[in-house]
């Protein structure tokens, strides 16, 4: 139910952005070359400024045909076509197929580690008694540390663990912050009730706090996953042999928007898919927890 609506909204957004951008660029070019037939004037060698504008507009707002070719180049055709079968189709071995596998192999472990650390942190926070405020404040400060600026420290992590560590470092305090908010907003009567039902500190954590925090863990992860995506792409800008971020890094300088836009749409669709998976997991595992669905 949700996916087609999101996809349609995204598609509409792309059309409006492209058409609107192209329209504004044309208006600007015409204003630089008033009172003449724009194309005839450019053909005749006049209106140099307007020509420059139009060239950029042609790059920035590619035609659907150019984007379809870009899609085919990046997503369908193998990166190294076989000499005997140049028309061979293999999306998994396409440039973006390989890049997607590389990026997800960094993104998914990073998010899972962040979820685990944040959950353990929330449980420790719940048990930390009088130092709750200090622990919570420290975490807020940690949440605002720009992980990408600590790149040199993360260089000591070999291979993919560089990206994984950076995602986990950035996402954990953000998720934890939301879990702490959730825990401090639970009705105090629940813990009092648990104490009258023979719960000790440990079993209250195990049977009351932990299960009531898990659905929120998924919500918080979904909300902070945008940060994770930015981080994984940025980390791949910094260093990577393969990955979506690396592809974007290579393409952005040459105004290769006909290649870039299909990638932008692909990353968005991928992110929505992971978001929906988490939503389905939440609904399946925690039928008692209402909410978790917006829009």
């Amino acid at each position: 139910m949700l996916t087609p609506i999101w996809a349609a909204a995204l598609f509409l957004g792309v059309i409006l952005a492209l058409a609107g951008g192209r329209f504004l660029a044309m208006q600007e070019a015409r204003s630089l070359c008033p009172g003449q037939n724009l194309y005839a004037a450019i053909e005749a060698g006049d209106c140099k400024d307007a020509k420059g504008k139009l060239n950029i507009a042609n790059k920035l707002y590619p035609t659907w045909g150019a984007m379809a070719q870009g899609f085919h180049r990046n997503f369908i055709k193998p990166e190294k076509p076989r000499a005997d079968a140049p028309q061979h189709v293999d999306p998994l071995r396409s440039a973006m197929g390989k890049a997607t596998i590389a990026t997800l192999s960094r993104f998914i472990p990073g998010v899972l580690i962040a979820m685990t650390l944040a959950f353990v942190g929330a449980m420790l926070w719940a048990m930390s008694g009088h130092s709750r405020l200090a622990v919570g404040s420290f975490n807020v400060a940690l949440a605002y540390v720009p992980a990408i600026a600590l790149t040199p420290f993360f260089f000591s992590f070999p291979g993919n663990s560089f990206h994984v560590a950076m995602i986990a470092f950035a996402m954990t305090p953000v998720i934890l912050r939301d879990l702490i908010l959730h825990l401090s907003n639970l009705p105090p009567s629940l813990l009092i009730k648990a104490q009258t039902l023979h719960a000790n500190t440990w079993t209250a954590l195990l049977r009351v706090l932990a299960p009531q925090t898990l659905p929120r863990l998924i919500d918080a992860t979904r909300v902070s996953m945008g940060l994770g995506w930015i981080l994984v792409l940025a980390a791949e800008f910094v260093i990577a042999r393969e990955g979506i971020g690396l592809r974007i890094w290579k393409l952005k300088r040459r105004y290769d928007v006909d290649n870039l836009l299909p990638i932008v749409i692909w990353v968005t669709v991928l992110a929505i898919a992971i978001d929906l998976i988490l939503w389905a997991v939440r609904r399946g595992l925690f039928p008692w927890a209402r909410g978790g669905r917006e829009g």
Binding site: I192, K193, A194, Q195, T196, T203, Q212
Partner: protein, 261 residues
């Protein structure tokens, strides 16, 4: 079944409690006998909920002492004292059955908080019996959020009663229910109380409720914010004839869904 002893069961000696400049109690003395049903009423802010929180152990008295059977109360909530709040008494993440089983499981399993095998089956049977007693056996698999307000309070009662606490404390337990359901709940609570011989302390806003259920009604008042709360009336009521039993509560159950939904 109700063994009325003459020695005080709960005794409050010289109780004092202040919040900053506001003194809620000063030199309050009260005793309660075992197996009574005590209603505490009074206007908002008169300290009746504070008294309940002190008895529960959620708050410690500043001065004086509260004793249960001669032993000072531990200053934190414990299984001796069951509690039914106006709302949020049941765990939202557990089914009705899970909610009633929770106390039985936590009592016997202090490390894992769970029971397995035969012990688990025993706990489940016991919990089911309590759900039947409050007329919720048909909703055993439902989560509290799917229950009506009245059903949630039945669940909270079953959850507390399953551990057979010495005292059952209730903080306006039926305040959020509409009058018809409230009457059903009164009947259920009264029969459970008679059956169990438990000591019940109920804070209420509702005069008829306090008088129809209680064997003793305490009226608290605190007209002057600068002065501590006073007991303006302490009325012992005639013990009511035995009118309901557990069987009657069970007979009540089949039409519970129609009247309570």
């Amino acid at each position: 079944m109700n063994t009325q002893s003459t020695a005080p069961y709960i005794s409050i000696d010289n109780l004092g409690k202040s919040y900053g400049q506001t003194t809620v109690f000063e030199g309050l003395n009260l005793t309660f006998k075992e197996s009574g049903f005590y209603s505490i009423i009074g206007p908002s802010g008169c300290g009746k909920s504070t008294l309940l929180r002190i008895l529960l152990g959620q708050e410690a008295p500043d001065r004086g002492e509260v004793r249960l059977e001669g032993t000072p109360l531990v200053p934190f909530p414990s299984p001796h004292r069951g509690i039914v709040f106006q709302k949020y008494s049941a765990m939202p993440h557990l089914t009705c059955l899970g909610n009633v089983m929770l106390g039985l499981e936590l009592r016997e399993s202090p490390v894992l908080g769970r029971l397995f095998g035969a012990a688990r089956r025993r706990a489940r049977d016991e919990a089911m019996a309590w759900l039947r007693a409050v007329g919720l056996d048909h909703a055993a698999k439902s989560f509290p959020a799917a229950l009506s307000g009245g059903m949630q309070q039945r669940l909270a009662l079953a959850q507390s009663m399953a551990l057979k606490p010495k005292i059952l404390l209730m903080d306006e337990p039926f305040g959020a229910l509409d009058p018809g359901i409230r009457a059903d709940m009164h009947q259920l609570l009264f029969s459970l109380w008679e059956e169990s011989g438990m000591t019940v302390l109920m804070v209420s806003h509702d005069l008829p409720e306090a008088f129809s259920l209680g064997t003793r009604v305490l009226v608290l008042d605190k007209p002057d914010p600068a002065r501590p709360a006073q007991i303006t009336y302490d009325l012992a009521l005639k013990p009511r004839p035995v009118q309901t039993h557990l069987e009657k509560a069970q007979a009540l159950a089949p039409d519970a869904p129609q009247t309570l939904s």
